[in-house]
């Protein structure tokens, strides 16, 4: 009885829809329901053959001169006010630790800056041209992540 009740509650929810798709993965109708060309690496796959992903590439990746320019943008557009000097974390999370809430590949970092993120990250897409955002991405990719184990020998 309890179980039946739970199933009724979940009907029509995203989880239930996903289950439905999984069960019917072999049907042509269900496959057509998947958007053909959009996939996010950070999303959890439910099986089947993933459609080809759209993978934006940072045109400046590894360019230390561009990284330095990005560092100046990082201060000039007040990014350091939230993420701290050297992006080491302050009000907002560290961006220098090699770890990413919303994905750390080129495109994911770009999208975070362009569209903003829900816990207070503003959208800079209307303020900064794409090239400047890529310079910021290059700066953030230039850090050597710190040791993530804080051992007592540090004290």
């Amino acid at each position: 009885m309890t179980r039946l009740h739970k199933m009724r509650v979940s009907r029509g929810s995203p989880a239930a829809t996903a289950m439905l798709l999984l069960c019917c993965a072999s049907s042509a109708a269900a496959q057509q329901a998947v958007p053909p060309a959009v996939r996010y690496d950070q999303h959890v796959a439910v099986g089947g053959n993933p459609p080809p992903a759209m993978v934006p590439r940072n045109p400046f990746r590894g360019d230390s001169g561009v990284a330095a320019q990005g560092g100046r943008l990082f201060s000039g557009f007040n990014c350091d006010g939230c993420h701290g000097g050297g992006a080491a974390g302050f009000v907002g999370p560290s961006l220098a630790d090699g770890r990413w809430r919303y994905g750390g590949d080129d495109g994911a970092i770009f999208m975070s800056i362009f569209f903003g993120r829900p816990k207070g990250m503003p959208a800079f897409g209307g303020t900064l041209p794409a090239e400047s955002i890529w310079r910021l991405v290059t700066y953030l990719q230039s850090f050597q992540p710190p040791d993530s184990t804080i051992s007592t020998t540090r004290w």
């Binding site: 201060s75 557009f77 007040n78 006010g81 009000v91 770890r99 816990k119 207070g120 004290w155």
Partner: protein
């Protein structure tokens, strides 16, 4: 040098006698109703509870009687309320309001109220997602949501009575402060001095939530509600004081927010509050005194009209907010009993002002200070050491004391009528200050400074002190290894309570500072202890554990909830994460 006014202790209060019985497990005083219905317990902001069952003699027997995880990890500043047999707790964002039934074993919830609070506020709030507490009035619990709303909730049922948008989150305005309710006015203010907001207070109707007046802290006399007929600052004359002390349009994004505590004198019918820093930190951008940033303002609560104002740090170069509480008491000064306001500023001076007129009566350092030599009582202005001035053109200014964490920050002091001393938590930090040019972008930080900290004289990073306003000196001091960031509580039993950043909650003797008891509460304490009488007639003490506020930003790795945010240890206290991590717990202690 002008002579310091001679001060004498006010006459004893009746409550002192009640508290001095010293009788173990004596019934609590009739003078205290055992409740805690507003943030600082009373309008004078004393944080003194007359309850006297817990004494210096029996405090060693204190034990935890109850605890509750709030389920929230943000900095737990503020304090619970106890109204009748219900305890109310507001959490940091997402600002859940819990109502606990103190009449039943385990204090189960009567109800809880879960508002929607925009998660964008998490990144807009300068200094963690704190909430400084609620206010009980007329059957309602009134408090602020972090995203710029004020709500009133039925204290009996948890039903939302009204919800008013008071701030603009997109402009960087957040609302972490605790409202003050006077008669049928709810008075609230905005935070965002680091986002270049324009500071204000608003008066809302307690019944409906309608905004009845808005008083800005900067700008034209009209906006500031400064009418020549009623606005009489002690040290200035003329019109446009909050306009002409700024460069053109600087006041529009000039900060002067209101994120601290308010107090109220019913006889004068004046509300007192302090304002935060002028924006941006880079002082080169804002030549002038920048009134009324870093000031105390006295307003009439009915219509918001400004009656007087006094600026503690003109042309603030150091982020010395003045949002700390204004404690109201009476002192005999120069043979004359005066109604005073006592304020421990971030800038390191303890100020005594006549609260009817705004006249400065004394200002003495309560922590090591080197940015100013003294405060001139004739002009009300500090004598600044010009080598400590900052600004983008000055490069790095070294070794400024206190740091921008302040001699004291948000953590409110307490005043005991028994000892006639103030009790407060302090930081012992100094800083270098490198200002850089910065551009105003709505909804992003408008700061422009790098300010590394170092330990102040003595090497310890904080202290809990008793301050004698008569001698302008410390009556006693307890050194602590870390900055002390909790509020203080004093009681009729002669006991003082405070918590530490490394997670201890302590009871000490109000007269001597002798340690009486301590308990490890699970996370650093940045909240404020309260005392109440339970339905069983016994005295209890409650406090939040939950490190945060500025210490969320700068303590290094004290969070464990986000695998994508790992931080290096803080340079000036690299080992704090050995002793505490984030957590939100409500504790109650009793005998």
């Amino acid at each position: 040098m002008l002579p310091r006014p001679r001060t004498h202790r006010a006459l004893t209060l009746a409550i002192m006698m009640a508290g001095a019985t010293g009788c173990d497990r004596a019934p609590t005083t009739a003078a205290d109703d055992g409740q805690w219905t507003m943030p600082a317990r009373d309008y004078a902001a004393t944080r003194f509870s007359g309850l006297s069952e817990i004494t210096a003699a029996n405090a060693k027997d204190l034990r935890p009687t109850w605890s509750f995880s709030t389920g929230v990890l943000g900095g737990h500043e503020g304090q619970p309320l106890v109204v009748g047999s219900t305890m109310y707790v507001v959490t940091p964002w997402p600002n859940v309001l819990y109502a606990f039934d103190l009449t039943q074993e385990g204090y189960p919830l009567r109800w809880k109220y879960r508002p929607f609070v925009d998660p964008q506020a998490i990144g807009m709030a300068c200094c963690d997602i704190v909430n400084r507490g609620a206010f009980y009035a007329d059957g309602k619990i009134v408090f602020n949501l972090l995203d710029g709303h004020t709500v009133a909730v039925d204290a009996a049922t948890g039903r939302e009575i009204w919800k008013t948008r008071v701030g603009d989150l997109n402009a960087g305005e957040t609302t972490p402060m605790a409202p003050l309710v006077v008669k049928n006015r709810v008075i609230v203010g905005n935070a965002g001095g680091e986002m270049g907001v324009r500071g204000w207070v608003k008066g809302l109707d307690l019944g409906t939530g309608a905004i009845l007046w808005t008083g800005y802290n900067t700008g034209s006399d009209t906006d500031v509600l400064a009418s020549p007929a009623t606005f009489k600052p002690f040290y200035q004359t003329g019109n446009g004081l909050a306009l002409e002390s700024w460069p053109r349009d600087g006041w529009k994004h000039g900060g002067a927010p209101v994120w601290g505590w308010l107090s109220y004198d019913a006889e004068l019918d004046l509300v007192y509050y302090g304002t935060g820093n002028p924006a941006p930190y880079n002082a080169d951008r804002r030549p002038g005194d920048n009134r009324w940033a870093t000031s105390v303002l006295a307003r009439h609560p009915g219509d918001g009209s400004l009656r007087w104002a006094y600026q503690f740090t003109p042309a603030d170069n150091w982020d010395y907010d003045s949002t700390q509480e204004m404690i109201l008491t009476e002192l005999t000064l120069g043979g004359r009993l005066r109604k005073v306001l006592v304020h421990f500023d971030k800038n390191g001076f303890a100020y005594v002002l006549d609260r009817a007129t705004g006249e400065l009566l004394s200002a003495e350092p309560y922590v090591p200070v080197n940015w100013a030599r003294r405060v001139d009582l004739a002009t009300g202005r500090p004598e600044i050491d010009s080598t400590k001035l900052t600004g983008a053109t000055r490069g790095v200014t070294k070794d400024i004391c206190p740091s921008l964490e302040g001699g004291k920050n948000q953590q409110p002091a307490a005043y005991s009528p028994l000892t006639q001393w103030f009790y407060l938590s302090t930081s012992n930090l100094c800083m270098d200050f490198e200002a850089v040019s910065t551009t105003y972008l709505a909804g992003t930080p408008y700061v422009g400074a790098s300010t590394p900290y170092t330990a102040g004289p003595g090497g310890h990073l904080g202290a809990f002190i008793a301050w004698d306003p008569v001698t302008s000196a410390r009556a006693w001091e307890i050194k602590e290894p870390y900055p002390v960031w909790s509020g203080a509580l004093t009681t009729g039993g002669g006991v003082v309570f405070y918590g530490t950043l490394d997670g201890w909650f302590k009871a000490v003797d109000a007269k001597t500072g002798a340690p009486l008891w301590k308990f490890k509460v699970g996370s650093g304490v940045v909240g404020n202890p309260i005392s109440f009488r339970g339905p069983d007639g016994r005295q209890y003490v409650a406090v939040y554990a939950g490190i945060g506020g500025d210490w969320f930003l700068i303590s290094g790795d004290v969070r464990s909830d986000d695998p994508a945010d790992v931080r290096a240890p803080a340079t000036f206290m690299p080992d704090i994460a050995r002793h505490t991590s984030q957590g939100g717990i409500v504790w109650i202690f009793g005998l």
